[in-house]
Symmetry: D2
Subunit: 364 residues, 4 copies
């Protein structure tokens, strides 16, 4: 069958015919769509150090974002059901993996389809275990592919809210979170999705980049009632005008030095969430800043990987946004490419386009 394959740690990607690939169960699924994300591109460009070939194989099928259609009824599914695979799969021995939560795997021996250890889903079909399949409503066929990256954000937000239960009262005078201020660093897909989730939950959100917002960003901002801050001259003016933030999320995946700039904006009982993998720089707190962080009950937390419950929550949010943020929800898929347009596929797998939120590959 046709597949998109890579050979980590070597750079490169090809669309080719393969004879066999990993399968994980008995539900036969024909691929309809794949999503492309930054992680795919890092593998293609030979930069993702933890990407590995499946054991004993000399290539890896790429792709951890997929929607497929069930080919034969059984195992709790009906022919024609749309499904999305959960990409990280547990180590099989630790307590959290045993109860379906390899996002908190204790051994680190999990695998990730299309990334490390097992084949991904950029191929015509695969067989899977119902345990790892999430049903996609037909009415979300258009934007459902976003449930995979969004699941990571749902898990992150859930974890932050769990952490904040350490504060006796972290809600506002009216019992909501409407008075809580969140600062999102970065206007890429991750920053946009964090903004949508937090606005849906009622928080006030400021999103920042080192430039004026693009037209598409402007639409998101206006429709969701988000604030924009151009950080090209640093964050002093933001601090002066708005004060401190209850939540700061790094969604840049760029230089870690940005954390040094924003840590002074973290308020009492506040949380700094590290989501995007920084690729250069360092975050440094001198003794005086550490004293401040202690006095202010601050938390810094690493945020990673959503699991099946978070995929399900992502679908509820995607469904709600069609009503709550109809314009924004239509802007989330910025490009669709047919699997037959090989040259274009290879191009989008190598580099991110300007203004891209999500690129979708269509298998038909």
């Amino acid at each position: 069958m046709k597949a998109i394959i890579v050979k980590p740690p070597h750079p490169g990607v090809e669309i080719t015919e393969i004879n066999e690939a990993d399968n994980y169960g008995k539900v036969k699924i024909r691929t309809l769509y794949n999503g492309i994300c930054g992680t795919d591109r890092e593998i293609v460009n030979g930069k993702l150090t933890f990407s590995n070939l499946p054991k004993g194989k000399n290539f890896l099928v790429l792709g951890h974002e997929a929607i497929g259609v069930v080919e034969e009824s059984g195992y709790g599914f009906s022919q024609g059901d749309l499904v999305m695979p959960v990409n990280r799969r547990g180590c099989g021995v630790c307590r959290n993996c045993l109860i379906g939560r390899p996002d908190f795997c204790e051994t680190g021996q999990f695998v990730e389809a299309g990334i490390s250890g097992i084949d991904g889903f950029m191929r015509e079909e695969w067989y899977d275990d119902p345990r790892y399949l999430v049903k996609i409503p037909k009415t979300l066929e258009d934007i459902g592919i976003l449930a995979q990256p969004l699941a990571d954000i749902e898990k992150s937000v859930e974890e932050i809210f769990n952490i904040q239960k350490r504060v006796p009262v972290w809600s506002c005078d009216d019992g909501t979170f409407n008075c809580k201020k969140a600062l999102i660093l970065g206007t890429g897909p991750i920053g946009i999705l964090f903004t949508l989730v937090l606005r849906t939950m009622g928080l006030e959100v400021w999103i920042t980049n080192r430039r004026e917002p693009t037209e598409i960003e402007q639409t998101f901002i206006e429709e969701t009632g988000t604030n924009y801050f151009n950080s090209s001259n640093g964050y002093d003016k933001l601090r002066e005008s708005i004060g401190k933030f209850d939540l700061i999320i790094d969604a840049t995946g760029a230089d870690a030095g940005i954390l040094n700039q924003v840590i002074p904006l973290l308020g009492r009982n506040g949380v700094l969430g590290l989501f995007g993998f920084p690729i250069s720089g360092a975050f440094s707190m001198n003794f005086s800043k550490i004293q401040d962080a202690i006095s202010a009950n601050n938390v810094i937390v690493g945020l990673v990987n959503g699991q099946k419950p978070h995929f399900q929550q992502a679908l509820v949010h995607l469904a709600s946004w069609k009503t709550l943020y109809p314009k924004s929800s239509k802007l989330l898929i910025t490009k669709t490419v047919s699997i037959n347009e090989e040259k274009e596929i290879l191009k989008v797998l190598r580099e991110k386009e300007y203004g891209e939120i999500k690129v979708k590959i269509v298998w038909k």
Copy 2:
């Protein structure tokens, strides 16, 4: 202005001109819609024992479900914003009311607009405090009125899930709640809304009534993947075929004797949620059934009143259902009556119609 008034504890209702009514703040709101629920009818029929007149007054403006439009910008709102009032308002002294959670008022000295102690919203306009106002997205103008009854259900489900954190692991093998079985007693609006919320969260749901489902119920059941059980001959067959339930919700608001019938279906670590006010009968557990409840770590919990965070969650669910359950979401408003059709208004305020889910009064 025109208003619908009652004089508890006396039965009766009239549409009349009034000179003044209670106001709660500075945001001027013109009423667009009211919803009617069973509580309104109990007041109208003189049966709600805890309904009281506002202090020193001889009538009460009815209505605790409302959507209005903000008439003048200010206080965080813009002219034209749609808003819904939160009906229960705190005692002003206890810890939970001080932090916006009078649903857990410690003194019991709260008031409820249109029910006890302060005027409701079946009137042309009122002034309110931003603290008690929930913004309604324009895209939910059609079914947003359901956010009030749905808020009570959101709070109930939140409370049950909070209670279940007593169980070290209450999720399924895949980290979701997809394996958990809920039994909903009653197919009225409350039963339907509980079903929609729990299905959205992934639980398996059985809904019951002592007859075959109506056509409209059949639509809900099919679209949401809910199971139906006709309990006219008791619950033995359900127990035999399905086994025990993790969650049983009484949404009948009828005879308490139903609890005696269903308690044997409550499984280990299970919760029986009491939502609907029973109006006759008794629930009795002999020593042997109490032994079983102890051995099985069972919880019985009284569920009441959603607050502002639950109204907001209700709106997210209503928004999502337009996409997830499009047919069902169109069936939720079963009747719309203009405030000018006085005879019809008085009729729907006195008695529930066959198949009614929500009746909406339109003020224009």
Copy 3:
């Protein structure tokens, strides 16, 4: 070896030589002490319906409360270490049993040493798995046997406090639980231990029985600052003088009818904890009382079985009571009998003595 055996469901008990008994692991333990509780007596008197013989055997070694001494170093223990076995052991398949919490077993297929399915510890020695062994500090050799019954209470209190996290603020104005009022029904060992735990946590406690307190009860009451109420004429006077309670615990193990008497004393957001197995009567709530329970956010919860973490917490409390309540801690063991006094052993296994809190069998 010598052992105390029973043959459920038949009444009777004998001290006899046995050739073999169940073992559970590789740690060799010589029995030093056993405790006797009401459950043992119900088995001896043929009244505990769920007591079963080990599979394929015709007797059951009695005893679920024991302290032994490790005979050979290894498996994390040193020769001479004092250890106590955890009596309930998991089903081996459900999620909660897999993570060491068979108190919330989902299948009900757990076993309980000395009660149902596997041999207990009223025998000269046994072999066990470290997983089920709790180290007993030498300084608690005297009263450590109470850690088993106390573990059940620690779990119950932990569960109640977990449940109360449903209430946004359940603590007092000073952040403590000092303003919370608990009513303990019954002055037996369970009632006394609940009182000690809740007083240690700072709650105000009222303990009741249908008579004036005994001299020994008077000592507990005075030393711990507990209030006593003689309920021989019902609870009206208690309600009039004190008002409602945040927590009511049934520790009587008697007639369930007492619950009908005390439910009107349960306050807003309050919890009724069912601990003692009632042996007659019924608890009945008519529709009006159910309405009250709903309006007041009440919870009724069945409380059962402590596990290893609760045994450890029990030891910390027992240790603290030697300092906090030195007189009371000396009154907890009301009788000590040598295993060689066979007649006396058989007598204490058949009937409870007046004023008994804990009877201890000494194996030396």
Copy 4:
């Protein structure tokens, strides 16, 4: 009356007669004991930048650790009761201060007796509000003064365990925390007290300093079953022999650079707790270490200030240690000085003695 006063930000301390000092309520208390801690010495040496005089005054009564005796019955106390004041007092306006939890004050406008804004307790007597008074059992008169510093640790441990509820299962196979590994940096009083609390809770503990343990440390280590690691050559050997830790606590209050050394020892789902105020150096994570922290779900949290519930928990632990760790509990007070030995008092207020855990001033 006699008092020990300071004049921040100026260095210096004197024992003098004063005419008046701040009072906080109606309960008259005569001082029996004060404790001295590092914060006192920083004020005395003019190094605590956030120490402030009470408004409009030119001196500050030092002392935030005290036990006094109630002089007149009333307000819930009896003459002769021993009490300890809670030192941090709320801002009066934020939600957490209103419910008795100024440890999570949102405004930062709290005051701390003897440190900033209001007078402390190194004086003959003061008047206080019952809300801020913790009863001290007579049997803890000897070591009860440790409840103040210990309260900060109780709060820290409670907060860490609350944060870890983000992990679906953070307990061990037997439901306990016995398999969890904690690394405590520093063998001063804070390190010792953290060790005692965590050992009481069952965790495995390693405590480190850059030298061999002192004799007194050796006693603590042996009695509590703690492990010792000499970190004079770094932490590589610890990592090789033991692996990673679930919890690392910085209790050094020294150079922040130690964090750079230990962060590689933090395991998956692990927490780095910052307790001691570092006084030099910096903690730096380059992009690669941040990637690791994200992948491993790590949390870094600032830990500060215990409130009344934590003082109460501290007393329970102190009481239990008399039984669990009798030798260690006798070593906690390393020096006692009479208020009349002025020269000695001034000396201990200026510099820490070798091997000091807690120095107690006796007012009689």
